[in-house]
């Protein structure tokens, strides 16, 4: 025994001596240790990277982990610790920053992440990079569960029990570790495709996506909390889901704590699932009705602080129950399964007195809040007193009973049948209409002594016309002439249009005629006509006639092309007039010569020469071309 104790002391002393240079070395670069839980992950899986950075100078800070795009950082958790040890009067400090990153693999392949780094005193120090093999989703090998975190001795042994690490089994109080807790059983119904957030998220469900107006839709909100998460806090300023198009009845007490619903496996993590809301919602109208999201904000842990968490926005397609087979008196929204009972007390009384009618409407669903008794002459129903005993029935059904206490006053004596009360409803389970009915039966009403005859009272709405007993019947679909274009064109616009066309046509015709006439009597037309006559005359045997035609052509040509008349001009006057009209001298002289020669030939006593006349006509045509060029 003594030998053993001495050996232990010797080993301890050796360990302390061996440790001293190590402490000295730690004053420089920090010690960075990087660990991963696995090196093979599936796409979409979360893998954790742990880094321990230990320094003896100051606390490491600003931890970074480059991921290169192959991974997305879903969470980061930093845990700083400090250790101060004094051994034999010598003090040593140890600052450790533990950082855990949660990375989500984005695509298959082999990727290197990191290296992770920290900053110490203005310098940055890096650890070793980590290489991952990312395989398609679902093909990653199953992972071993991570051992629960243990308090680590900063120097590799516990300063409060240095012998424990050196001599195993020496500690009489060293108990074997407690057995691991049994694995949690997850409920597949609570599983989701992917977590809606790290650490904590909300998830909303409805039991049906289509319903009729008034049919119960059960709306639930669950919170999912990562079982490995600690110290999770949520801002109390949460905003509940908005359901403006529904009547809302809570099926869980609003002030009740969340109810454990089970455990779920989502995204490779195990989550504890609690039910925080369960409402029975009754649609108020037809259409696609929206259930707004519930909002919460995380406060702790720091890695997710101030991150919002919301539920999904859900839509319910709401229609009206079918018209076919709808019973009389059905009120839209009366959906569920109802029963009706009634009691009348007393059944014998005097006219003008009243009886009590106690009606109990029970069932599940959207119980009507009013009952309308069948009104009849001489029977007056006063407004009922209503008592509700409705609420959750079981876990997810709303219902109960509602009582109506009527007072009915009968003013006419005799046996009066009060009829029956009926509540038609749509049964969503049976997909058909049904009627809850309670027969009220008859009451015996004795004449009241001294009562006024009914006819003395002043009637309301007198002189209403008689009831009609047969429908008018179907009407033939009417067609209106003014819906057709033919009516407006042929029936309305035709006559004014015809008049307009006639007046316009006549005006246009007259204008066209005037234009035609004007064109026919123009100098140009006259010239054209005279040229044609000259052609004919020069082709004939009468030289005088030909010369006269040539003269008429030249006179007309001067009017048309030079704008001057040379008729009755004598001597050099022809040339002067034409020159004043900016006709070249040679052309003017040519015209003057031709006129003089023609006049001389016409009135010469000698026999006229046809050939000479034809020659003059040829020259006259040249003169015409000269005049045209001038024009």
């Amino acid at each position: 025994m003594k030998l053993g104790v001495a050996l232990a002391l010797a080993l301890a002393l050796a360990a302390v001596l061996a440790m001293a240079p190590g402490i000295a070395l730690a004053q420089g670069a920090p010690q960075i240790d990087v660990q991963v839980e696995t090196d093979t992950v599936g796409v979409g899986d979360i893998v954790h990277v742990d880094m321990n950075a230990t320094s003896s100078d100051t606390m490491p800070s600003d931890a970074r982990l480059p991921t290169g795009g192959a991974f997305t950082v879903r969470g980061e958790n930093e845990s700083p610790t400090q250790t101060h040890i004094i051994i034999n009067g010598s003090r040593s400090d140890r600052y450790t920053l533990n950082v855990e990153w949660a990375l989500e693999a984005q695509r298959p392949g082999t990727f290197t992440v990191g290296p992770p780094s920290v900053a110490i005193g203005g310098s940055r120090y890096a650890g070793k990079p980590v290489t991952f093999r990312v395989v398609p989703a679902g093909q990653a090998p199953p992972r071993r569960r991570r051992p629960p975190p243990q308090m680590q001795a900063p120097f590799g042994f516990s300063p409060f029990d240095p012998w424990k690490a050196l001599v195993p089994g020496m500690d009489p109080f060293d108990q074997p570790p407690p057995p691991a807790p049994p694995p949690l059983t997850t409920d597949p119904k609570l599983s989701l495709d992917a977590p809606r957030g790290a650490v904590y998220f909300l998830h909303a469900t409805i039991d049906k996506t289509s319903a009729v107006v008034g049919e119960q839709v059960t709306f639930s909100i669950y919170e999912y909390l990562d079982v490995s998460a600690t110290d999770v806090a949520i801002d109390e300023d949460a905003r509940d889901a908005q359901v403006p198009d529904f009547v809302k009845h809570p099926l869980l007490a609003e002030d009740q704590d969340a109810v454990l619903a089970g455990y779920a496996a989502v995204g490779g993590h195990t989550w504890v699932v609690k039910l925080v809301r369960r409402w029975a919602l009754f649609p108020l109208r037809a259409g696609d009705l929206t259930i707004g999201p519930m909002h919460e904000t995380l406060v702790r842990p720091r890695s997710v602080a101030r991150q919002p968490r919301t539920t999904e926005e859900l839509t319910v397609h709401v229609t009206e129950p079918p018209l076919a087979g709808r019973p009389q008196g059905y009120g839209l929204g009366d959906v569920g399964r109802f029963a009706l009972t009634a009691q009348v007390q007393p059944r014998d009384f005097e006219a003008g007195s009243a009886a009590g009618v106690h009606v109990e409407l029970s069932g599940t669903g959207n119980l009507p809040s009013t009952l309308t008794p069948a009104a009849q002459a001489g029977v007056e129903w006063l407004a009922p007193e209503v008592h509700d005993q409705v609420g959750p029935v079981g876990h997810d059904v709303y219902g109960g009973k509602r009582t109506f206490d009527f007072v009915v006053r009968v003013n006419k004596p005799g046996s009066v049948d009060l009829g029956s009360l009926a509540v038609p409803f749509w049964d969503p389970d049976a997909h058909k209409y049904d009627v809850a009915r309670a027969v009220l039966g008859s009451v015996q009403v004795k004449p009241a002594p001294g009562a006024l005859p009914a006819e003395t009272a002043q009637p309301i709405l007198p002189d209403l016309p008689e009831v009609r007993d047969s429908l008018q019947g179907s009407s033939v679909r009417r067609r209106f002439a003014d819906d057709t274009a033919i009516f407006w064109i042929a029936g309305v616009a035709a006559w004014p249009l015809a008049f307009g066309l006639a007046v316009g046509g006549r005006s246009l015709g007259r204008r066209a005629y005037r234009v035609w006439r004007g064109r026919k009597t123009s100098p140009a037309a006259d010239l054209k006509e005279r040229v044609a006559l000259a052609h004919v005359a020069c082709g004939g045997k009468d030289a005088r006639e030909a010369d006269a035609a040539i003269v008429r052509v030249l006179e007309a040509a001067t009017v048309v092309h030079a704008g001057v008349s040379v008729r009755a001009a004598v001597g050099g006057e022809v040339v002067q007039r034409l020159e004043r009209a900016v006709v070249r001298h040679d052309a003017a002289a040519s015209v003057a010569d031709l006129l003089r020669e023609c006049e001389a030939a016409r009135f010469s006593p000698d026999t006229a020469d046809v050939l000479a006349a034809r020659d003059r006509w040829v020259r006259a045509q040249g003169a015409l071309r000269d005049l045209e060029k001038r024009a």
Binding site: G378, L471, S475, A494, A502
Partner: protein
């Protein structure tokens, strides 16, 4: 006068076939199947009305309306059923308005002048009761301010009548113009001028009235106030301070609807009121 004008407006000239034989034949054929047969439902409602069972009658006629049955007599008897419930002292708020709605609808749909006259008379009785109650409450008693001048003019004659007038006046106008233009004798020319100068403006008016009547037929939506006081609100549904509630039973023109509110015109009043206080009038077979 009102009846005559209304008769013209309802289109007496159109080939409307008033057939009660279908319903009567079904009634006579055997026991009514109240489940889905409109004629049987109508018969049960009419019987309840004769028996003074207003509640049962209302249930039957409302089911008919829910089934999409649009018939002047069904609307008329429905109005009577609501009026009866008021008369026997079992009135539910809004009954007078619903009665007025039934009578208004019957008046619009009626092919029988007698039915139209009865509906108008019943409407007068119901609106008289509404006016009496408003008088007691110190509110304005105007229940029916009438229509705008243009709409009243357009309503003087039925749309087909306006159409025929258009065609006739167009012909007269054209003939007058031609006579004035082409006439050889002075008498002919003077007569043509007179006819054209009278027929032209008359044709313009007739065209305007035809177009107005057609526009009303195709686009006008009307409703009746079926609440004891439809208080004008703003778009958020908040009551407008100082605004006078629209009277129960008033016939209003629907301008637009948004959310739970409907913008209506009532005389010179243009206001938003809760949609739940209105019941739209069924459109007849066009």
């Amino acid at each position: 006068m009102t009846t005559g004008l209304a008769s013209l407006r309802a289109g007496r000239f159109a080939p409307l076939v008033a057939i009660g034989a279908v319903g009567m034949a079904l009634l006579a054929a055997g026991p009514a199947r109240a489940d889905d047969d409109p004629a049987a439902r109508f018969a049960s409602g009419a019987k309840a009305l004769h028996d003074g069972r207003a509640g049962d009658a209302i249930a039957a006629f409302e089911t008919l309306a829910d089934d999409g049955v649009t018939d002047a007599v069904a609307s008329y008897d429905r109005g009577l059923a609501y009026a009866l419930r008021v008369r026997i002292g079992a009135e539910v708020p809004g009954d007078l308005g619903r009665a007025a709605h039934g009578f208004e609808e019957a008046r619009d749909l009626a092919a029988d002048p007698k039915l139209e006259a009865d509906a108008s008379r019943a409407l007068t009785v119901v609106r008289g009761e509404v006016a009496r109650r408003r008088l007691r409450a110190g509110e304005p008693v105007e229940v029916d301010p009438g229509r705008s001048l243009a709409r009243t003019l357009a309503g003087l004659l039925a749309e087909p009548t306006w159409s025929v007038l258009c065609a006739v006046l167009s012909f007269a106008f054209g003939i007058g113009l031609f006579a004035r233009w082409l006439g050889k004798r002075p008498g002919t020319r003077i007569a043509g001028g007179v006819i054209a100068s009278v027929g032209g403006p008359a044709l313009a008016i007739a065209i305007a009235m035809t177009l107005a009547a057609r526009h009303d037929r195709l686009t006008l939506r009307e409703a009746v106030v079926v609440a004891s006081g439809a208080r004008p609100t703003d778009l958020r549904g908040l009551a407008v301070p100082g605004a006078t509630p629209l009277p129960e039973g008033a016939r209003v023109e629907i301008v637009e609807a948004r959310g739970g509110s409907t913008r209506v015109r009532f005389g010179t009043t243009d206001a938003w009121i809760p949609s739940s206080t209105l019941r739209e009038l069924a459109e007849g077979i066009p």
